[in-house]
């Protein structure tokens, strides 16, 4: 009986069909979504954190900040939208490090599943959570006085860009989680890119108010470009220059960090 089973399996040593790879990704995504739903406190925190930043800049600090030609609420809220998807991505680093430490990765790697499904399923589940957080923050933004001033199509394009940026950035966090391997360190390490990119950007104040040495970085870094594009899509104004740059950043970050993550995944467990 054993022998028959061996011969049958040996006959199909072909590469994994795409259909099965997609099914593997779905399976892992579902597993991670269940994990997200079953740790509601973590889900709650990933929504509360950007909500606090939003309220802080709307009501506490916002009164002291003047941005010429625009209501500060309309200026700052699109930046907070981006922050909402960036902060969600941090749990990607944490969760991957946890899985590596728990040894469940060994089980997955001893199965005939598509190897990339482990990472793809993680990032897709996390982007779903980010979308939920984003929906909540958009609702809160509207409640505190933020308004869309353009067509529905442009607004949807802006939301899509935020999600695309959030997804691309999930792979940065994936690389961090796989590189440090330890859950606590992963969480601390993942704060860094979020802090640097979010605070040294046009999210909260115009870049022109920053010191000269910081401006070249702040003006051209991916978060600024993306926030500028999103603002233009929501509030009007010239959009194309920032939009194509933001799209390039998304694709670039995605491709580079996908490659790094896959390599790290292969090494981390071998």
């Amino acid at each position: 009986m054993t022998d028959v089973a061996i011969r049958q399996s040996a006959a199909k040593a072909a590469p994994l069909p795409l259909r099965l790879a997609v099914r593997d990704i779905q399976g892992i995504t579902r597993r991670n979504l269940l994990r997200i739903i079953r740790t509601p406190q973590l889900l709650f925190m990933s929504i509360v954190q950007p909500a606090i930043i939003l309220l802080l800049f709307r009501y506490v600090l916002g009164g002291a900040i003047r941005v010429p030609g625009v209501d500060y609420v309309d200026f700052v809220v699109p930046g907070i939208f981006l922050e909402a998807v960036l902060i969600g991505g941090m749990t990607t680093a944490l969760a991957l490090a946890q899985d590596l430490q728990a040894g469940i990765v060994d089980r997955f790697r001893s199965l005939p599943m598509a190897r990339s499904a482990f990472l793809a399923g993680r990032t897709l589940a996390d982007v779903c959570r980010s979308v939920l957080a984003l929906a909540f923050i958009i609702g809160l933004g509207l409640a505190v006085g933020f308004r869309f001033h353009t067509s529905a199509g442009a607004c949807l394009a802006g939301v899509a860009l935020i999600i695309a940026f959030g997804y691309a950035f999930t792979w940065v966090y994936a690389a961090i989680g796989l590189a440090v391997k330890d859950p606590q360190t992963a969480q601390m390490a993942a704060i860094l890119p979020m802090f640097i990119l979010f605070f040294a950007s046009s999210a909260l104040v115009p870049v022109s108010t920053m010191p000269g040495w910081l401006q070249p970085f702040a003006q051209n870094q991916p978060a600024t470009v993306t926030i500028n594009a999103v603002r233009a899509l929501f509030e009007g104004g010239p959009v194309f220059h920032d939009l194509w740059q933001a799209a390039l950043w998304c694709v670039g970050i995605f491709v580079v960090f996908l490659t790094i993550s896959l390599n790290l995944y292969r090494k981390a467990t071998a």
């Binding site: 061996i6 040996a10 040593a13 892992i28 597993r31 060994d106 790697r109 001893s110 005939p112």
Partner: protein
């Protein structure tokens, strides 16, 4: 597409390890390890912590690339045919690698999906496995509510969802209470009766002897000995003389008096005031020992001769006892140490 040359190279062994060496930095984890497991057989890799047992399992389950040597499962190379092998093996570990936040059923169904079974098949098998592992009632609870024994059973069930012809169990019973351990043993025996080939690792001689026909003794990354339990005992050649002294103070003295009779390193158990001494002869050695001890005025609690246990064999082969014989306060002395 089957390559005829590949078919030619195929051997009958379910698992074949040939001169496998693996180095981690300056540590030689596996040093020229060779053994094979026949289809439908249980082989136990026996050795203390750090002997390289898990490394062998990781190589055979395609998780780790050996530095040199060859490893084959079902006649297929673990490096070249990794994916095919993965569809034919099951792996259950010392650390139950199931998802805490999923239910038992969700864990099993996910593994079934990742084995690329049809949904109807893995759903059915998950229910089956839950029933078989006495987890029926707990199947829809999250694993974090499970006891250690339940987790281990679920882990084993997960490794069986693909109905693999070859099963790898890395210290399947370490840390389990005796009852749960016996349940697992019984279950492993059932699997073997159904034709599954099993390679298991253990630190416990008793477990190796109970489950496995073939035993490979691994020590510091090398194969120290291999054979059936009886063959290993025959290697020691002869019997074990056991002396229990009445007074702790007499232990060392008694050991010195009879050390000359030993055919391999003797063992002192300070807790039980007992000396275990591999010997070649039978009654004559017993009488000689009794006379020598009596002449010297050593008070005896007990004196006897018995067939060697695998613990004795392991000690004789590797120079140190197995985990089960490794009680604190256990001292071992020997002619060549």
């Amino acid at each position: 597409m089957t390559d005829p040359r590949q078919a030619e190279r195929r051997t009958d062994a379910a698992v074949e390890v040939e001169g496998v060496t693996k180095r981690f930095g300056s540590t030689l984890a596996l040093d020229d390890v060779s053994f094979s497991v026949q289809p439908g057989e249980v082989l136990a890799l026996l050795g203390p912590n750090g002997a390289g047992k898990t490394t062998v399992i990781r190589v055979l389950t395609t998780l780790l690339k050996p530095d040199s040597g060859r490893a084959r499962v079902a006649g297929l190379d673990v490096q070249k045919d990794a994916r095919t092998i993965r569809s034919m093996i099951g792996l259950a570990g010392q650390y139950a690698t199931v998802d805490e936040l999923l239910t038992g059923r969700e864990n099993l169904e996910l593994i079934g999906l990742l084995y690329h079974l049809d949904k109807a098949v893995y759903r059915h098998r998950a229910q089956d496995a839950l029933d078989r592992m006495s987890l029926t009632g707990a199947g829809d609870n999250q694993v974090k509510t499970y006891s250690g024994g339940m987790r281990r059973r679920l882990d084993l069930a997960a490794s069986l969802i693909g109905r693999p012809p070859v099963l790898f169990l890395d210290e399947p019973t370490t840390g389990l209470d005796p009852r749960t351990r016996n349940d697992l043993w019984q279950f492993i025996e059932e699997l073997v009766a159904e034709g599954t080939t099993v390679l298991l690792t253990t630190q416990y001689m008793e477990e190796a002897e109970h489950l496995a026909k073939a035993i490979v003794v691994l020590d510091a990354g090398r194969v120290a000995a291999q054979g059936t339990a009886d063959e290993l005992k025959d290697q020691l050649g002869g019997n074990v003389l056991e002396v229990q002294v009445s007074k702790r103070a007499d232990l060392e003295k008694a050991a010195a008096l009879i050390a000359g009779l030993a055919s391999a390193p003797l063992r002192l158990d300070a807790d039980l005031n007992r000396i275990s001494l591999p010997v070649k002869g039978g009654a004559r050695v017993l009488i000689a020992a009794g006379r020598a001890l009596d002449d010297a005025g050593v008070e005896l609690e007990d004196l006897g001769i018995r067939r060697p246990s695998l613990d004795d064999v392991f000690l004789a082969i590797t120079g140190h006892p197995t985990a089960s014989g490794n009680d604190p306060g256990n001292a071992s002395t020997g002619g060549d140490r």
